[in-house]
């Protein structure tokens, strides 16, 4: 075997997880290699040409706040930007961009190519080398070349033993006709890592000219859109692309029902578990038989491409059925399919094999992120990639590992869900997954995470300074508001105009600002108080005042779990020696090996009495925890 070089960290896979992992590791000072099967598919978007969306937009903002790549790249390649959920409360507002996928590939390729310390290599990883202590020592490529390294981050996406299905025909393949990674699975399994099969699907791409847009509803970007990155100015992204909405109908559903036996899912050929949130069109028609129509979103894949993506229309039915069903849709009578919809099945792990750092429990220096961990989505992948990259480099540099709490972020929630509960289907982030969702707004992601980004050397000095100035403006304004009271004469005319009850006595300004009808910007004008805030800062101040009491209540409710999550359990704890635990608790805790008490408490069959016993046991043993 030839030695092809020596690195601190090797990242396997250059998708959205791999890019973040590699850039973070390199920026933090580790000599890093990014290995990919195809340099022409770095930062590929094999599914939807978009970034962000409900809860996913929060993730992108958090990645950006930590100093990751996706926010900046998403802004640079944006062709349409919208803020979703505007009527649903500010904590669930979420930005979403339509992205030019060709440009996104080029843009991210350029980023990884021009990052210091980062070496981009086209090669298929076939083997991860470890020594007798299960410490990572290197990676082997398909031609036998060896790269020495101290840590590996696996970001293999859907490539491991990838199998693509269209109808009942299948072939071994990665996404977008890339080669699959045929060998790495064997290496992982022989090291004792258990793998399982998940599947996901993607809809057709059709030709722009083959659609009658007069029969579709158009959807435009927001005026003055909010970019992902905290460093970008409002309205600074490109925003001229148009999306369209079409609808299926009874005839479409008839075609699907008639051809169901042609589906590899319904005939039992595919065993992989698909994502629940993203059912194929045949799933929707069968499971929700009473619905007369389903929406199809027609999205451009880029400005220099004629391909249009049909969101909501993923299917595993054969090509002839795809075209037959599409032609039943009003506006699609002459549809011209350029890429057929397909399903892809791949190997992934059960993420309970990982710690909150995204390191494998049973190895030293082995990390993983993205679809390989059982998630779905570019944003979920990138979020994990960033954390895995930070921690792989911290491992090499012998620095403190980063673990984000559920309270801190959607990223922390995502990782905690994965490693604590595992997942039975490809995991998608949702705002409902966070019990802290009121305080996890996209707008305060920087306050929550930028200090951590600074601590881990991913944020430059200029950005740090700007961030600190912004926070100071916000804190000062909030302080003024808390100290200000308003007299009835000053404000009642405005309150009446807004249809909210007038005040009868001197009233605190924050109480008024909590009324949903009241706008901070209008109050500022009426009172004439100088707050010295820009538009974004003013919005932050208003949101904070409006939510502060609810957040306090939310935190109150979650305090008990938070306390438990701070109490560490030794990973090598022999639960049979803890006198008094129920046998069910001993069995389950020995298997799951929780990292802290909150995780132990979340295990079904572990009772509050068991947790009391563990807590007492920890104290008795003099084990200090934190």
């Amino acid at each position: 075997m030839t030695n092809l070089g020596s690195f601190d960290v090797i990242v396997i896979g250059a998708g959205h997880a791999g890019i973040e992992a590699a850039v973070a590791s390199a920026k933090r000072g580790c000599k890093t290699a990014l290995m990919t099967i195809s340099l022409d598919h770095i930062g590929n978007m094999p599914c939807n040409p978009s970034i962000g969306g409900s809860a996913k937009g929060h993730l992108v903002r958090e990645i950006d706040a930590l100093g990751g790549v996706m926010g900046e790249a998403g802004d640079a390649c944006c062709i349409q930007m919208r803020m979703l959920n505007l009527s649903k409360g500010v904590s669930v507002h979420s930005p979403r961009a339509q992205a030019d996928r060709a440009l996104y590939h080029l843009y991210t390729k350029k980023i990884v190519e021009t990052t210091d310390n980062l070496h981009v290599i086209q090669a298929e990883a076939t083997d991860i080398l470890t020594d007798e202590n299960k410490t990572v020592t290197g990676v082997v490529n398909s031609f036998g070349g060896v790269y020495e390294c101290k840590a590996v981050v696996i970001c293999a996406g859907t490539f491991l033993r990838g199998t693509v299905y269209i109808g009942k025909k299948s072939r071994e393949s990665g996404p977008d006709a890339c080669l699959p990674a045929a060998y790495l699975s064997d290496s992982l399994e022989s090291s004792g890592i258990k793998l399982r099969r998940f599947k996901t699907g993607t809809p057709c791409r059709v030709h722009r000219r083959s659609i009658d847009y007069t029969k579709l509803k158009a959807q435009y970007g927001d005026p003055n859109p909010q970019p992902f990155s905290f460093t970008a100015k409002r309205g600074s992204v490109r925003n001229d692309a148009i999306c369209y909405i079409a609808n299926t109908n009874a005839r479409t559903h008839d075609v699907i029902r008639k051809n169901l036996s042609e589906s590899p899912l319904y005939s039992g050929m595919i065993h992989g578990i698909g994502p629940r949130y993203c059912p194929s069109i045949e799933d929707k028609v069968i499971r929700f038989a009473s619905r007369e129509q389903h929406q199809i979103f027609v999205e451009p894949t880029g400005t220099d491409s004629e391909e249009m993506y049909l969101q909501g229309f993923s299917t595993s039915l054969p090509e002839f059925v795809q075209s037959e069903m599409l032609r039943t849709v009003s506006g699609f009578e002459n549809i011209e399919i350029m890429r057929s919809a397909y399903a892809i099945e791949y190997d992934c792990i059960n993420p309970t094999a990982l710690l909150h750092t995204l390191a494998f429990r049973d190895f030293h220096g082995l990390y993983s992120a993205g679809q390989f961990n059982g998630t779905s989505g570019y944003e979920e992948a990138a979020a994990q990639g960033l954390i895995a990259g930070i921690n792989a480099s911290a491992y090499v540099l012998n620095e403190k590992q980063l673990e984000l709490s559920r309270k801190s972020s959607y990223i922390g929630t995502l990782i905690d869900d994965l490693v604590t509960k595992g997942t039975d289907d490809p995991y998608r982030m949702m705002t409902a997954r966070s019990e802290y969702r009121l305080s996890l707004r996209h707008g305060n992601a920087d306050e929550r995470l930028t200090p951590i980004g600074c601590e881990y050397r991913l944020i430059g000095a200029a950005r740090k300074q700007a961030f600190e100035a912004k926070l100071q403006h916000i804190y000062e304004a909030i302080d003024i508001i808390h100290r200000t009271s308003v007299l009835p004469d000053e404000i009642n005319a405005y309150l009446n105009e807004k249809g909210t009850s007038p005040i009868t006595q001197k009233t605190k300004l924050d109480a008024l600002l909590r009324r949903p009808q009241i706008q901070f910007s209008e109050i500022r004008q009426i009172l004439g108080t100088d707050f010295a805030l820009n538009e974004i800062e003013a919005e932050e101040v208003a949101n904070r005042i409006r939510y502060e009491m609810y957040i306090e209540r939310q935190n109150q409710q979650n305090r008990h779990l938070e306390e438990l999550s701070r109490i560490r359990l030794p990973l090598d704890l022999d639960y049979t020696t803890v006198h008094g635990l129920s046998s069910e608790a001993i069995e389950k805790l020995s298997r799951i090996k929780p990292e802290q008490l909150a995780q132990a408490a979340s295990v079904s069959g572990v009772s509050p009495a068991d947790i009391s016993i563990l807590m007492t046991w920890l104290k008795a043993g003099g084990y200090s925890g934190e």
Partner: protein, 447 residues
């Protein structure tokens, strides 16, 4: 750490019970509800001292008690601790515990006093093993209790409401997260109706909790009758002790005395009241008012009539006021020159407290009047569950207020989630997971 409280004596009928409060705020909590007869405040009491006085809920006296103060670290738990020794009886003791919790303590978990004692170094390491055994025993008892509770009707009801809430939460979560497919506007009037419906169910349950408590902890019984009809003799017979002053001077029983007595499988919480009689004596008037007040919350009236006198106009008037309450007439003093009962009443029991106490007769009437009571039923309703129920109601109420004041949907979803978590706490359902499962199973998620 929070201030915890629990009844520390076994949940059985006995002479006295003890409630222990431990934690930083225990002295402040006790001060809110205890009035010492010597006027000394709890906060002024030194460690290892007691005081005699009253537990009061506002102006209402609940019981006279002995209160003992332990100052940290010289207590069992090593924290400030107050022990309230009150008259036995589950009903009364629970009322006092309820009051303690209302004033800022939280219910103690299984083995929590012992655990705190241990954590505060009150028990040495060599005693660790013993501590484990204690906690284990508590844990097993708690588990056993939890299993009983699981089978309880009330708990099933709580679960059903939690499921309904989770259904609403799933719909909200779907609406909040599925930005593309769902109409942007929330159907708030429909949501409000759904939430109000849940609120009403919870409030019914809360009422039933009080009722359930009657059946499980005792039938609230009021002893009525004209002066000297023999009420105190009845009381003494029921209690087997000479508790009320029995004299033949009308109007000698002035205070309402509550006793917990067993009649077969039935537990009666009997209030002996001043005789119902028009009177000008001020003290006695208060007693009569108390009697009428006791009637308004009673489950059972034992109405004593002196058979040698027969039923009078006054008796008929009072009995008329008892129309809505289950009533047994004790036709007393049949050993004297008695008249034949001249009233048409379904539950009339001729007896003589002195010569022929009517034990079997009373039991028979009770069985007819309260057929639904299964004796020795497990305690499916307890203060902890009631606390959870009340917290859930508070958050559902807050969601309703938000909806009415055009509050944001994300805030509403958090209130409902907290309410669902409270209701689910008994069997430890994972609300978040169920909500998300609900999104996927009930809705056609678009993307």
């Amino acid at each position: 750490m929070s201030t915890i409280a629990a009844i520390s004596t076994p949940p059985a009928v006995g002479g006295i019970s003890m409630i222990r409060i431990s934690g930083e705020k225990s002295i402040a909590v006790a001060e809110h509800l205890f009035y010492a007869t010597n006027q000394v405040k709890v906060s002024e009491m030194r460690g290892y001292t007691c005081a005699y006085g009253y537990i009061c809920d506002g102006n209402e006296r609940i019981d006279d008690v002995i209160l003992t103060v332990f100052r940290a670290p010289h207590s069992y738990t090593g924290e400030d601790t107050v022990e309230i020794t009150c008259h036995g009886g589950l009903y009364l003791t629970n009322e006092i515990l309820h009051l303690v919790l209302k004033n800022g303590a939280v219910p103690a978990g299984a083995g929590e006093f012992t655990k705190r004692a241990f954590l505060n170094g009150k028990l040495s390491l060599s005693q660790a093993e013993a501590v484990m055994n204690v906690i284990e025993a508590d844990g097993k008892a708690a588990l056993h209790q939890a299993n009983l509770v699981k089978e309880g009707r009330l708990s099933r009801q709580m679960n059903a409401i939690a499921d309904e809430l989770i259904g609403i939460l799933s719909a909200l979560a779907y609406w909040l997260d599925d930005a593309e497919q769902f109409p942007e506007e929330l159907d708030s009037s429909r949501l409000f109706t759904q939430i109000r419906d849940i609120y009403n169910k919870l409030s019914d349950m809360s009422k039933h909790y009080r009722d359930g408590k009657i059946y499980l902890q005792g039938i609230r019984t009021v002893l009525l009758g004209k002066p000297n009809a023999g009420k105190s003799s009845v009381m003494n017979w029921l209690c087997g002790v000479n508790r009320s002053i029995v004299t033949s001077i009308a109007g000698t029983t002035r205070d309402v005395i509550t006793e917990q007595v067993k009649v077969g499988a039935y537990t009666l919480l009997v209030s002996d009241t001043a005789g119902i009689r028009e009177t000008e004596n001020e003290i006695e008037t208060i007693g009569i008012e108390q009697a009428m007040k006791a009637l308004s919350t009673a489950d059972l009236v034992l109405y004593v009539i002196d058979a040698s006198v027969g039923i009078t106009k006054e008796d008929r008037e009072v009995l008329k006021q008892c129309e809505d309450t289950k009533t047994v007439i004790l036709w007393n003093k049949t050993d004297l020159n008695s008249t034949e009962p001249d009233v048409d009443f379904p539950h009339l029991l001729p007896c003589s407290m002195i010569a022929d106490p009517p034990f079997d007769g009373l039991l028979k009437h009770l069985q007819q009047l309260f057929p639904e009571i299964v004796p020795n039923q497990p305690s499916v309703v307890n203060e902890r569950q009631n606390q959870l129920l009340e917290s859930a109601m508070k958050h559902v109420q807050s969601a309703m207020d938000l909806l009415e004041s055009y509050g944001e949907p994300d805030l509403i979803s958090v209130d409902l989630e907290i309410a669902a978590r409270h209701l689910s706490e008994i069997d430890g359902k994972d609300v978040s997971k169920e909500t998300i499962d609900g999104v996927f199973s009930r809705f056609c998620v678009g993307k």
